[in-house]
């Protein structure tokens, strides 16, 4: 009898929340052909945090858009919660976006004329919730990200880290299966990065599946799996749990 103590990470493809096979995205043609994503396979299990790192232009943002139903691939398959999403119609895709996917952008992409609360409500309203239910949900989420006292602030009155936390709250609004984050700390200073890091860790503990594209080693180090990407393809995968602990002191001259 086999049982795994680590209930968060499974190898069985059947249980994977997100799956990609042979994913490709091309731009241009002939001489100008750019293979932004060139044959990517991926399995993400429920509750996993997966980080994708790579140099600029390696295609990781494009990959995230393909996985998160924001763009259509040139080839390959994407399965989200057991449904294929690469070829479905616009309406079905939109339904995916408001029920199964939450997206966090590097540039936050909040509406400037809406308050923090209204920005979060918008997501619920898109999903057809009543204004009252949307308001309640927004209040809960603001509490969750620690910005309940800033509910009525406009984005221009919020710091970068606060804006991104509002964006994360918005992404959580419709209880998505997967939260995708594209360079979530790209525009943030280190203190704000720590705030976002804490939030991601708490989401992880609550069992939220996360797929994060990042430059930031701190975010990457907090993931269960770290995938390196180069020239549109995966080149390396690391499971970061475990490792040579106990040698922290050596790093700053406390060598034994």
């Amino acid at each position: 009898m086999r049982h795994t103590t680590d209930t968060r990470v499974r190898d069985s493809a059947d249980a994977s929340v997100l799956r990609a096979r042979g994913l490709r995205k091309h731009y241009g043609h002939g001489q100008g052909l750019v293979r932004a994503v060139d044959g990517v396979d991926l399995d993400v299990g429920p509750g996993e945090t997966v980080a994708v790192m790579g140099p600029s232009g390696c295609g990781k943002s494009t990959l995230l858009h393909l996985l998160g139903a924001l763009d259509r691939p040139s080839g390959g398959e994407v399965w989200l919660a057991g449904r294929r999403i690469d070829q479905i119609g616009e309406k079905a895709l939109a339904r995916m976006r408001r029920s199964a996917v939450g997206f966090v952008f590097q540039a936050f992409h909040l509406m400037d004329e809406l308050t923090a609360r209204e920005n979060i409500e918008l997501s619920a309203l898109m999903a057809g919730r009543s204004p009252r239910a949307a308001r309640r949900r927004a209040a809960d989420l603001l509490e969750r990200v620690g910005l309940a006292d800033r509910a009525g602030f406009l984005p221009s009155a919020l710091s970068g880290g606060q804006r991104q936390r509002v964006a994360i709250a918005r992404a959580l609004s419709n209880e998505p299966l997967v939260v995708f984050a594209d360079e979530p700390t790209g525009n943030l200073d280190s203190a704000a990065t720590v705030d976002v890091l804490r939030l991601f860790e708490s989401l992880h503990e609550a069992g939220q599946t996360l797929v994060i594209v990042t430059h930031d080693e701190r975010i990457a180090a907090s993931a269960d799996r770290l995938i390196s990407m180069r020239d549109g393809a995966f080149v390396d995968e690391t499971r970061l749990s475990g490792g040579t602990t106990g040698q922290l002191g050596a790093l700053v001259g406390l060598e034994g």
Binding site: R198, E217, A221, T245, Q247, A250
Partner: protein, 175 residues
């Protein structure tokens, strides 16, 4: 300067003492100015005593160290291979890692990129541990500050490793 660096320099082919020094100087660039010229020969002598290197006197030339021909012994080669696979990071010693990559590439012993990747992985694990420890500390504790320092240094080192990766990828493309 680690002995293994000099060993690795000889991995490609036997060379004269002055050739070794020149290659080291070239790999280190302006930092090579600080390199004590005598240090290399001291290391070579030590290595010879340890049986990792042999030396030969060139025909017809004076018996000076810079004119001697040095080569690796089989023990020396094995030591080099072990050293290449190591992921110790005892102190921030960029020069050593840098030279490790140079030597590995020159000798064709290992792919510099995989060396970089391995080292990155190790540092990432340490970063994860340090980060976890830092987050677990109560706010304002002194240990938290120290841990933060460790995290930031690791982050900086990782950034450099990324630069290494880019650089060596470019080099491979060009060759």
């Amino acid at each position: 300067m680690q002995q293994e660096v000099v060993l690795a320099m000889l991995a490609k082919e036997p060379s004269h003492g002055y050739e070794l020094r020149a290659r080291l100087r070239q790999a280190l660039g302006p930092l090579g100015e600080a390199l004590n010229p005598g240090h290399v020969y001291v290391t070579l002598t030590r290595l010879e005593k340890a049986g990792l290197v042999t030396s030969e006197r060139a025909e017809g030339l004076a018996d000076r160290q810079d004119r001697k021909m040095y080569a690796l012994t089989p023990d020396g080669q094995q030591r080099v291979a072990e050293w290449l696979a190591e992921v110790r990071w005892p102190k921030p010693d960029l020069a050593e890692f840098h030279l490790k990559l140079v030597a590995a590439a020159a000798a064709g012993l290992a792919d510099p990129l995989s060396i970089v990747d391995a080292q990155r992985r190790e540092l990432l694990r340490r970063l994860r541990d340090a980060q976890r420890a830092a987050l677990a500390e109560p706010e304002g504790s002194d240990a938290a500050l120290l841990l933060e320092g460790i995290v930031l240094r690791l982050q900086a080192d990782l950034r450099w490793l990324e630069a290494c990766e880019q650089n060596w990828t470019g080099r491979r493309r060009r060759s």
